[in-house]
């Protein structure tokens, strides 16, 4: 290796470290703020606590608002809606890719809905949910979230299904497998990493979703985490310590999930982006 190469390696390394620092700095600052003494938060914005560490903000965050309830609601909504999304999306995308069911129209229609800003359908969705008597109920939000994530699941799963050699399935049909059996016993094991990363992405998108949750839930019993903590801005005044703790309480589960599945997620996103 010559000097030029060493130099360019060092520059690359410095850029990578700088990039990491920019990503992590805001998160570290919020974590540090959640541990600062409230008086210090009001008067100074140093990165790390200067006047000692306290768990007061964390205790208050769980005591002053029903944070546990919000987190519980979000968990229920995210898990249920993801299961519904996958149950609908996996068979559908398999048949549309492999048997061209619905022709070219169906996939482009489904993906087309992804272009549509959700605000466009909030008024009708609000009306439909109300007619069904599901407003302010978790079931209503679960159904809306599972619908919302279907185009995303289509987009993420597409390349995985396309990459399976069709000969494998032909062999299965010769052996007398039905379409459904083929999907379950031959195709599913092969696309499992894709289904996994798609599931994780849908789960997180539902957990993070704000607009539909904002218009469909209003009582404390049905609010999800984003709606619950959004009240820290405005209604409760600026309680930055409590707010930081509450925000982190909803961020940490997501980050754990992302770290566990990071390999899958990077691969899934990369494939969908690259295929063009």
């Amino acid at each position: 290796m010559n000097n030029r190469n060493v130099l360019s390696k060092i520059i690359s390394l410095l850029i990578a470290i700088g990039f990491l620092a920019i990503i992590l700095l805001p998160i570290i600052f919020v974590a540090a703020t959640s541990l600062k003494i409230p008086l210090e938060i009001r008067t100074s914005g140093t990165l790390f606590p200067q006047g000692g560490i306290t768990f007061e903000n964390w205790q208050k965050a769980f005591r002053n608002v029903p944070l546990t309830k919000y987190l519980f609601n979000s968990t229920v909504v995210a898990i249920s809606s993801t299961i519904i999304t996958l149950l609908i999306a996996v068979p559908t995308i398999y048949t549309t890719v492999r048997f061209k069911t619905g022709g070219a129209v169906l996939p482009s229609l489904v993906l087309g809905t992804y272009v549509m800003p959700p605000i466009v359908v909030t008024v009708p969705i609000f009306a439909i949910v109300k007619i069904l008597g599901l407003q302010d109920k978790l079931v209503g939000l679960i159904l809306v979230h599972s619908m919302m994530n279907i185009p995303l699941a289509f987009w993420l799963l597409d390349s995985y299904i396309r990459n399976i050699p069709v000969e494998l399935e032909h062999a299965a049909w010769v052996d007398g497998y039905s379409k459904f059996d083929t999907l379950l016993k031959i195709v599913y094991p092969l696309i499992k990493p894709g289904v996994l990363s798609t599931g994780v992405v849908c789960l997180i998108m539902s957990w993070n979703e704000f607009l539909f949750a904002l218009i469909l839930t209003y009582s404390e019993a049905s609010k999800t985490f984003p709606i619950g903590i959004s009240q820290y801005i405005g209604e409760h005044g600026m309680q930055f310590g409590e707010m930081s703790a509450a925000a982190l309480a909803g961020i940490i589960p997501i980050y754990i999930l992302v770290f566990i599945f990071s390999k899958n997620l990077v691969e899934g996103l990369g494939r969908s982006g690259v295929k063009g």
């Binding site: 703020t33 914005g45 605000i119 930081s244």
Partner: protein
Amino acid sequence: MAIPAWIFLAFFSIIPLIYVVSTSLTKSTLAQPFKDFIWFNNFKQAVLDENFGRSLVNTFLFAFVVTTLETFFGFLLAYAVRGIRGLNTILRSIALLPMFTPPVAVSMIWKLIYDPNSGLLNHYLMKWGLTKGLIAFLGDPKLAFPSIMFADLWQWTPFCFILCYAALQALPKAPFEAAEVDGASGWRVFRKLTLPLVLPQVIVVFLFKLLISLKVFDLVYMLTFGGPGNTTQVASFYIYRVAFKQFNTGYAAALSFLMLLIITIIATLVTRAREIFMRSSE
């Protein structure tokens, strides 16, 4: 097995869109749907509505500025660190974090950073003598929008980075080996080989993020609520206000329809432009 997809389309796009179109011709309110048929009066009002025009301009300004910067920096970063294999696994895992952080939490993080009294930014700007007084980033009409954009940059540049990185990894090896044998300079390889090969994919990343950015709502709702004045009001937020704060759903439906129309036209145009571009580059 495709029936569920049709049900999805029926409930999530076909019925809602019919509902939007029919409601847009009425004086509906949130409590009284389909009240008084008034033909195209809502559309007439919308065309003359300065706030709506302004919110559309804001939406496109936001989407184009952030998407351009995010794709540019994302690609640059991906290109810069492509050589260091070992660190990249960690780097990409960390880079996943911002895009998966709940937008509400992202807003809170940046609200805190921008705050005059408790914020990181003002503290260090003052400490290092870069500014004389405290700056209300989100309260200043000139700074509020760029501040929202910066929060979006933090959240989505890593996403563009991951996609661009994958695109760079997927490039064929042979042409680069040939170029190395020929002793081509780094800049020449980049300009003549890397860039033309990877550009179509980078454009895909750009378009995909552009479509996400046109939906912007959460950050504006949380960081400025459209203010100060109406300086940061974007289309989604304005429609939300008309429908769920003023309960004027008939008018909101007309606005939604117009917004969807404009976005569809733009999406079609950029897709065509991309097809033409890709054909000519072959």
